[in-house]
């Protein structure tokens, strides 16, 4: 996205999410906060008009990133996160969180840490699948999405587990997602390093 201050696309399997950041820009007077930036999220589905399902997603993403963005550095401004789902095939929420993390870095918005997310599903035969497809989610007994703050191992930043599960299954999925997010973080690091070196070469030339 070349109009946005920062953008990133995150794809896993068939799921593809684009996140665009606009900001910090001037906030409307009735919306602004005197000591910090206001974070707004808009989530657009792949097909159709936004529904309450997308509002739920917006709220989840806003609550997750609101405190990780160093909003006190930009008072009375607005940071707008626009997420467009290009193709959804399961694990959309974790893809959206990952895309937004990358996009915020691309936009140069100061962050406390990187936020990475992963989804896993417990299928009816008791096997666990990380990064499930929509088909696997529909057939699963329970699905779990966890988001973690990099460098902090005390607990999850965001949890959304639903279905029919026990505490043991929850803990098992927690461990799996923690491992998966470490991989995602490493991937993000390579991607960002690659982009920064490329930009440095262009500006040097």
């Amino acid at each position: 996205l070349n109009r946005a201050d920062g953008s990133a696309q995150f794809s896993a399997g068939n799921t593809s999410v684009v996140s665009g950041i606009y900001g910090p820009v001037e906030a409307k007077v009735y919306e602004e906060k005197l000591d910090r930036a206001v974070v707004e999220v808009k989530f657009r589905p792949d097909i159709g008009a936004p529904t309450t399902k997308d509002k739920w997603m917006e709220s989840a993403i806003r609550n997750t990133f609101e405190r990780e963005i160093l909003a006190h550095l930009h008072p009375r401004t607005l940071v707008q996160i626009v997420i467009q789902l290009r193709e959804g095939d399961g694990s959309v929420d974790s893809a959206a969180i990952n895309a937004t993390s990358l996009a915020l870095v691309d936009a140069g918005i100061p962050l406390k840490c990187m936020i990475t997310a992963a989804t896993c599903a417990v299928l009816s035969d008791d096997t666990t699948v990380v990064d499930p497809t929509q088909e696997e989610i529909d057939a699963a007994r329970s699905t779990h999405t966890f988001a973690f703050a990099s460098g902090s191992s005390t607990g999850p930043l965001y949890v959304d587990s639903r279905g029919d599960f026990t505490m043991d299954e929850y803990n098992h999925c927690y461990e799996l997602c923690a491992l998966a997010t470490e991989r995602v973080l490493a991937f993000m690091r390579t991607a960002i390093e690659g982009k920064v070196t490329k930009e440095a070469k262009i500006s040097a030339a």
Binding site: T52, K53, K55, W56, E58, S59, A60, N63, T64, F65, E66, R67, E68, S142, A149, S152, T154, G155, P156, L157, Y158, V159, D160, S161, R162, G163, D164, F165, T166, M167, Y170, N171, Y174
Partner: protein, 273 residues
């Protein structure tokens, strides 16, 4: 006498001017401003059948938070892809009537998120094939309206309990589909629907980044850094664990909350019956 009066006045003023500091005074002493323990839930009162014009209804009082759920049933055609399934739609209404925070007009973000979350949870409540009158021709469509009458924190828990209670209260007339005329006629006998798993919610709030309290009231919610919703079914299996807000809650805290939710489940079950 005058001195005692002065102290009370000062406390109320302090609460108004420095609400965060006010709450901190209590929380730092391991208590809450209403005298509750950290993991203590408010008293729960459930009254079924409050609305006579609805097919099913329930009023839930969770401390000062009051929520009413009314279920209306209509007959309609089923979805082509699921010809034997009825519908259950849920809507949460947070109006200026319940709190000064809400403006009149389109539903606020909070209301939409609550509606969506309850809608997802409600999928575990009923086997929708129970609502079938005639496969492919007529099914019952239940619309549950959950209205908050008074908002003193933790509307979500109250709303879930109200929905479950209203579904337990629901009575549908036995209906027959006449294939000749295409009309559905209702008999006099009424029957209940079977609530499949049951939903027992418990919300825990991380206040001021440090203290985890159960069933936060409005003043405590204003200071919330994060909120954890744990929903269990009748058998103690987990239906939903939902953490929102980026305040950090450790893994051990989450397990503590799940155990507290299990205890809470018994309290809710008692209030429902």
């Amino acid at each position: 006498m005058g001195e005692a009066g002065q102290v009370t006045f000062a406390m109320q003023t302090f609460e108004r001017i420095h609400p965060v500091e006010f709450q901190r005074r209590f929380l730092s002493q391991s208590t809450r401003h209403t005298g509750r323990e950290f993991m203590q839930f408010r008293s729960l009162q459930v009254i079924k059948g409050a609305i006579s014009t609805a097919q099913g209804s329930a009023t839930v009082r969770l401390g000062n938070t009051t929520v009413v759920c009314g279920i209306k049933a209509e007959v309609c055609e089923p979805d082509v892809k699921q010809p034997s399934s009825g519908y259950l739609t849920t809507n949460v209404e947070l109006s200026p009537m319940c709190s000064a925070r809400f403006r009149p007009g389109a539903p606020s973000d909070e209301a939409q998120v609550a509606s969506e979350h309850i809608h997802r949870l409600s999928a575990h409540l009923l086997d929708l094939t129970q609502l079938c009158i005639e496969t492919g021709r007529a099914v019952w469509s239940l619309s549950a309206d959950i209205v908050c009458l008074k908002h003193d924190g933790n509307v979500l828990d109250a709303a879930v309990i109200a929905l479950v209670a209203a579904l337990e209260d629901l009575q549908l007339p036995r209906a027959e589909f006449d294939s000749a005329t295409g009309m559905v006629s209702a008999e006099r006998t009424m029957c209940h629907v079977e609530v499949k798993r049951g939903l027992f919610p418990a919300t825990f709030t991380l206040v001021d980044d440090m203290y985890v309290v159960a069933d936060a009231d409005d003043a405590e919610e204003q200071m919330a850094a994060a909120s954890l919703l744990v929903v269990m079914d009748r058998d103690g299996k987990l239906v939903n664990v939902w953490k929102r807000g980026a305040g950090l809650m450790s893994k051990e805290t989450v397990e503590l909350c799940v155990n507290a939710a299990r205890v809470r489940m018994a309290e809710i079950a008692k209030a429902l019956h």
